[in-house]
């Protein structure tokens, strides 16, 4: 494998910095160990290479930038990058993360301890480009050179001076989207340095100063959510129609009356699902309707823009968009007069709304916000609903969404439910706060196009897929149906890609779904099996 120097980032102009070789990735257990038996890694066409900036690793998504018309335009962006670095270090423009950023820039000991904590670096076969420290150290040196006093002289004297040019910033931009922001690296750092935070700050600089962000996160993400209601494009009336249709369909399929309340003023609870669940995993929202109604909860959904979609991609790349979405959600809850807001099964919604945005939700916008895990745990053990755990007598493992577990410390409630309702529950190794990201974290699960999904399933999600296979190693065949419980929309989307790509449904009988579905499947009053193995 080619060894990379930090200074290589600025060299070679349009040349691709590294080539990903599937044979160099960490091996998977059988029957997924034969690289030649898997679909290949899509290569970029000459047309794509001519049109787009693809000078990093041969992977392209909607994040890819079009090539510039001339050198002046490139120079303008480079100047903007310098101006963005200055703003990142200013109190006015970046009070939100100034202290964590400065500490992470100034106190890295370069011990590389964090590298072996990173699932992407490990899965890649230890490719230098994917070290958590590679992009951070380049950014650190650029900040020290261009923003700090006598930086240029110090850069010359200290060695490893990195040139700032169009190649550098375009590669750094792409590279900032080769990280799941899972913070496993931060957890392992003896100094408390946070390379995931540096990556997010880098994304923020590109977004807030240069206007560069992946379409799926920005234009078709937060912008669409604030305008239309959801990054899925689902408008309020369509969301209501869809759920009403699903209510009827599931009433018929399960023999249990399903109904979902909307815009109920004075309800005790505002539940905010991810709208992506309504479209891609409708059993999830329906499960909540069944559970809440069975327990006699006074709850509601909201059809106010964007109150029916709890995602907040701002947490991945942009503080302004993060605050806009979070404030909007809180305003909706305030208008409905609810006593609390319950997060849906969405990891980054938990992190964005419960903790990260906590300090921008002041005054009457500070409405109590609770995790779906504690909410469901309380209902399951309340005695209001009868369960028959034998209905869930199949192997189940739990994926820990990083944003719920590592970032919020919500570890046990979901486990207590699974230990009670799933007789064959087993943990992955490692799990809990030491878990590996699914590979879709940091917004990557919603990014696709060209060959980005290939990278996600080959590299970013590889450690997780390996973990899943190992968790089910005692029942490897497809004749035994197995369930990955992933209580997070983005994780489920990534698992769907992984299972599709590797053919794991067919080869190993593995499906993925949420937590609420397992609860409903075990309910005595739901007569027909709720989990439909062939549909998930």
């Amino acid at each position: 494998m080619k060894k990379l120097k930090l200074t290589d980032i600025a060299r070679g102009e349009d040349t691709q910095l590294i080539e990903i070789n599937p044979n160099e990735l960490i091996p998977l257990p059988p029957p997924y160990d034969r690289v030649e038996a898997l679909p290949g890694f899509k290569q970029l066409t000459e047309e794509q290479r001519g049109r787009l900036v693809c000078n990093l690793d041969g992977v392209v998504s909607y994040a890819a930038l079009p090539k510039t018309k001339n050198k002046e335009e490139e120079k303008k962006y480079v100047e903007q990058f310098v101006s963005g670095m200055k703003k990142l270090l200013s109190k006015e423009n970046n009070w939100t993360f100034l202290q964590p950023l400065l500490l992470s820039i100034d106190y890295c000991a370069q011990c590389q301890t964090c590298c072996d904590a990173c699932p992407i670096y490990l899965a890649s076969g230890r490719n230098d480009l994917y070290r958590p420290t590679y992009r951070s150290e380049i950014f650190r040196r650029l900040v020290n050179k261009y923003v700090r006093p006598v930086g240029k002289l110090r850069a010359k004297l200290s060695g490893g001076d990195i040139e700032l040019n169009w190649t550098t910033i375009t590669r750094l931009y792409e590279l900032s989207y080769r990280c799941n922001l899972c913070r496993r690296c931060a957890q392992s750092c003896p100094m408390g340095v946070d390379n995931a935070l540096i990556t997010r700050e880098l994304r923020k600089l590109f977004s807030q100063e240069l206007g560069w962000a992946p379409k799926e996160l920005h234009e078709k993400g937060t912008v669409l959510q604030l305008e239309v209601g959801s990054p899925t494009g689902l408008r309020p009336d369509v969301a209501i129609d869809n759920l009403q249709f699903l209510d009827e369909e599931f009433t018929e399929a399960t023999g249990t009356k399903v109904s979902t309340p909307w815009d109920k003023e004075g309800a005790d609870i505002l539940l905010i699902h991810s709208a992506g669940d309504i479209i891609s995993f409708p059993e999830g929202p329906i499960s909540f309707s069944i559970i809440c109604n069975a327990a006699g909860i006074n709850w509601t959904l909201s059809s106010e823009i964007p109150g029916y979609d709890g995602v907040n991609y701002g947490v991945f790349y942009d503080d302004v968009q993060l605050a806009r979405v979070a404030i909007r959600h809180a305003q909706i809850a305030k208008k409905l007069g609810v006593k609390k807001i319950v997060m849906g099964e969405c990891g980054h919604q938990h992190k964005a709304f419960m903790t990260v945005a906590d300090r921008v939700l002041t005054g009457d916008l500070d409405i109590p916000r609770e995790s779906v895990m504690t909410f469901l745990e309380n209902l399951v053990f309340s005695g209001k609903i009868k369960f028959d755990p034998s209905k869930n007598n199949f192997p189940v493992t739990l994926h820990d969404p990083c944003n719920v577990v590592r970032n919020l410390g919500i570890v046990e409630p979901q486990r207590r439910i699974l230990r009670y309702l799933c007789p064959q529950f087993r943990e992955m190794t490692p799990h809990g706060v030491d878990n590996y990201c699914c590979g879709g974290g940091g917004g990557l699960s919603v990014m696709s196009d060209v060959n980005f999904t290939d990278w996600k399933v080959h590299v970013a999600g590889r450690m997780k897929f390996k973990q899943v296979l190992e968790a089910f190693a005692d029942r490897p065949g497809s004749e035994v149906k197995k369930y990955i419980c992933a209580p997070c929309l983005n994780c489920k989307l990534q698992f769907r890609d992984l299972l599709d790509y590797y053919g794991a449904r067919e080869k190993s009988g593995i499906i993925c779904g949420g937590l609420a579905e397992l609860i409903v499947n075990a309910m005595v009053d739901v007569k027909k099996p709720f989990i439909q193995w062939e549909e998930l």
Binding site: C114, E137, S158, S188, D194, G211, Q321, I327, T362, G409
Partner: protein
């Protein structure tokens, strides 16, 4: 160097060290309150820290009093500082060198403390038997400190130079810091071996400083060692080697800061939200005058109609 020269140099170095450390500590502490960015496990979570749980695991957590442990974070940090817990857990191959290096520094700091106490005991004319015990301990601490520190520092230089995992991230300053410390440890070790009574000489030197005795004289090896040590004391706070200060903030103020808002914080937050924003991207809609509240808050449709 003359007696008065030693006084000026030593007290000057100590003063610079303290002033710069305090200045940089205050500078970090006065950075604005940031958005929450905690990271499990958080040791102060009583009954939950062992598996990484937090108070957010409680149903309607806001109705319950958070059960916080005072001692758990202290014990965690003690293991982190004294035993390099994080390096042991996550980078075992680096631990022996890093531990030797840090242990050397701690032992030398302890040696100085014992030497200071010995000096004070001499000044207050405590019986020599007691002083001898302190001097004997100081002597052992010095020998162990210089030896361990020297081995650790040389080992770290070699590891940085030879380990391909570390090599491409090295800078001149990283090597310079280690070489400076090697010089400190080696001159200290040489002074210890060259002197018949290192600890006693060191204590008398400190006594001379404390009592402002102008007649302080030292043998060359110890003089060289003390000069290098005082230069290092001046240099240290200017570098990232003050991570022992930064670590307080990265752990207590960021990783473990899961504190919900309080009145004082809200007051500060209101001031921060009132600041003008000048990010240039079109979607931000900043003009250098609009503040954070203007940019992020949109009235609800009903309010707009009204």
């Amino acid at each position: 160097m003359s007696g008065i020269g030693w006084h000026i140099f030593a007290f000057g170095a100590i003063a610079i060290f303290l002033i710069v450390i305090v200045y940089r500590t205050i500078a970090i502490s006065r950075l604005p309150v940031h958005l929450r960015w905690e990271l499990a496990p958080i040791p102060h979570e009583k009954g939950k820290a062992r598996y990484g749980g937090s108070y957010l695991e409680e149903y309607e957590w806001w109705r319950k009093r958070q059960s916080r442990s005072f001692m758990a974070p202290v014990l965690y940090m003690a293991a982190e500082i004294l035993l390099l817990r994080g390096v042991w857990k996550h980078n075992r191959a680096l631990w022996p060198l890093s531990f030797a290096f840090h242990a050397g520094i701690y032992l030398i700091a302890l040696m100085l403390l014992f030497s200071l106490v010995s000096a004070l005991l001499i000044i207050t004319e405590v019986p020599s038997g007691v002083v001898d015990v302190f001097l004997a301990i100081a002597s052992v601490l010095a020998a162990a400190g210089y030896l361990l520190g020297g081995l650790g520092a040389v080992g770290l230089i070699l590891k940085r130079a030879l380990d391909t995992n570390l090599r491409s991230f090295n800078t001149v300053s990283k090597y310079f810091n280690l070489v400076f410390l090697v010089a400190l440890f080696i001159t200290g070790a040489y002074a210890w071996f060259a002197s018949t009574d290192f600890a006693s000489t060191m204590s008398l030197f400190i006594k001379g400083l404390v009592t402002l005795d102008g007649g302080v004289t030292l043998a060359l090896p110890l003089s060289v060692h003390i000069v290098i040590s005082l230069l290092f004391l001046i240099y240290l706070p200017m570098t990232d080697m003050i991570h022992f200060v930064a670590k307080y903030f990265t752990y207590h103020e960021i990783r473990w800061n899961d504190e919900p808002k309080n009145e004082k914080m809200i007051e500060e937050l209101n001031g921060l939200l009132d600041q003008p924003v000048s990010w240039s991207a079109i979607h931000v809609k900043a003009d250098g005058k609009k503040n954070w509240v203007d940019l992020t808050t949109k009235k609800m449709s009903d309010d707009e109609k009204a």
